[in-house]
């Protein structure tokens, strides 16, 4: 027989019960991922399409031909038996995203002006120079790397889009997503669903994707919400991380270092003070109990 009151062999020791209760109430709340972060987004532009999910998505009313053309176009056979390796290529690398422009003209043109398109251009040049597909963890994104043409849904709220966005951008910019979520903007926007707060694109632009390393650009981004912002205001560090930071960006490296050092000093101080006083209280309680029990 198991139970706290049970006598005999099956009795659960109080220590064990306390241990599991502590795990349950103290550890689990932090270890459990917060809602809204955990669900994996069905990303990816693959050769295989789940038509049921496709039908529910934003493009669900389009026929395949509207984006992919008919099989009779050009002089290529479809499927092209002479270029079987084509099928092994990544769909998001070979699809001609110029076709998105037909409907999404603004987005497409902004993308061409933005940092991601510049990075893609450089990557293509490198590929031509080296003669093979570029490898490495971070590659410049095409439309299909951020958006799923087959599965992304429409009519989402700003908060829903924003939460998904942090995940999508975070795939490549992990440190930025993490620091954003530690920042007040991220906590308000993603965790608490405050649509007045800023998501990634509210500062960096949806398709321009500017880095905001230039002060003037940063100030314009801040000013959209903080009308009183001054040049100094842009020194505020939203992403205290050195990932992707230029080696010669001394100024920001210095600020990040200051923030990290102060955090470290403060955490040592807090731990030292708390450990000392908790120990003090604990010993005091033991002594008081000892005195009490001895008197009676």
């Amino acid at each position: 027989m198991k139970g706290f009151s049970g006598k005999g062999k099956g009795k659960v020791p109080a220590g064990k019960a306390v241990f599991w209760a502590a795990i349950l109430f103290l550890c689990l709340p932090c270890l459990t991922p917060a809602p809204g972060h955990a669900e994996a987004v069905n990303r990816g532009s693959s050769w295989f399409v789940d038509l049921k999910a496709y039908a529910e998505a934003a493009h669900g009313t389009l026929t395949c031909e509207e984006c992919h053309g008919t099989m009779k176009e050009g002089d290529k056979k479809h499927p092209n038996l002479e270029d079987a390796a084509f099928l092994k290529k990544e769909a998001s690398r070979v699809y001609d995203y110029g076709r998105c422009k037909t409907c999404h003209r603004n987005s497409y043109e902004r993308y061409l002006l933005g940092e991601h398109a510049k990075a893609l251009k450089k990557e293509r040049e490198r590929e031509v120079a080296s003669g093979g597909p570029s490898t490495g963890e971070k590659r410049a994104p095409t439309c299909g790397d951020c958006h799923s043409a087959h599965y992304d849904r429409s009519h989402l709220s700003k908060v829903e889009i924003g939460r998904e966005m942090v995940q999508v951008c975070g795939t490549c910019h992990a440190a930025q997503a993490k620091t954003y979520l530690e920042n007040y903007h991220g906590k308000a926007a993603v965790n608490l669903g405050d649509d007045n707060s800023a998501y990634c694109t509210d500062c960096h632009g949806a398709h321009h994707c500017v880095s905001l390393k230039k002060k003037e650009a940063a100030l314009r981004a801040c000013e959209r919400c903080h009308q009183e912002a001054s040049a100094n205001f842009t020194q505020f560090v939203i992403h205290p991380t050195v990932q992707d930071l230029d080696e010669d960006d001394r100024e920001k490296r210095f600020r990040v270092a200051v923030i990290k050092v102060i955090s470290l000093i403060m955490s040592i101080l807090v731990i030292a003070v708390v450990v000392f006083f908790y120990g003090h209280s604990f010993l005091w309680l033991l002594r008081d109990l000892h005195e009490r029990l001895r008197k009676h």
């Binding site: 709340p29 932090c30 459990t32 917060a34 809602p35 972060h37 979520l181 007040y184 906590k187 308000a188 965790n191 608490l192 405050d194 903080h226 009308q227 009183e228 912002a229 001054s230 100094n232 205001f233 842009t234 020194q235 505020f236 560090v237 205290p240 600020r255 200051v258 923030i259 102060i262 955090s263 403060m266 955490s267 101080l269 807090v270 003070v273 708390v274 006083f277 908790y278 003090h280 209280s281 010993l283 005091w284 309680l285 033991l286 002594r287 008081d288 109990l289 005195e291 009490r292």
Partner: protein, 244 residues
Amino acid sequence: MAGKSERQEAYERFCVLHRFLHLVAMLGFTGLALTGFSLKFSAQGWAQAVVFLLGGLDHVRYLHRYCAVVTYACVVAHALWLLYFKFLLKGSLTGPQSLFPRFKDLKDLFQHMAYFFGKGGQPRFNRFTYWEKFDYLAIFLGMNTMGLTGVVLWFPEFFSRLIPGYFVNVAQVLHVYEAIMAVALKFVVHIISAHLRPEVFPLEKSIFNGKTTREKIMREHPGEWDVICRGLEETGSEVPSEKL
């Protein structure tokens, strides 16, 4: 005094203002901790539940600032009282019976710790023991630093005109760590040492009704009792010598 036994003579330990300020600061601090931590730990379900129950992020933000203003008003009121005590009542803010830290507090701390391990007796505490002084000073100084960093976070546009923008980051770091320390100390250490230890369990009422007894002073603050006995009010101590 007529209705009470001779031995239960009541003394006033805390005046009305101090009791009131303690009560307001206590409520304000709890409100600050609740609203502040539900923003800090907003990734977790309980925090989201608190924010929902309080009516959304905007309300939580408002409540945090409301509690901050009320709590800081206590600091201002107390600072004014200190001036009043010093200049009109001609009291001493640094004497042995005051809350000012003295070398004796360090000695008391070591002696008390030795007592925990069964070596020697308890120190002869004055009107305020070392842990009471720590509680008081930590809150008094802490509220000022929390207020200062908090106000920077409240008006970042204004303050970034005066100081570099990344000082707002620094203010944020200091605000968060100090909040964690304050909550860890006040809600655990202060409550144990002031209320929950077997000697005073379950509640030390004197901070709420101001009253203490002769026995209590003799037992907990023998140094203060000596002063009362010697009738040395004019030494500039903060002694509540008037009997109720």
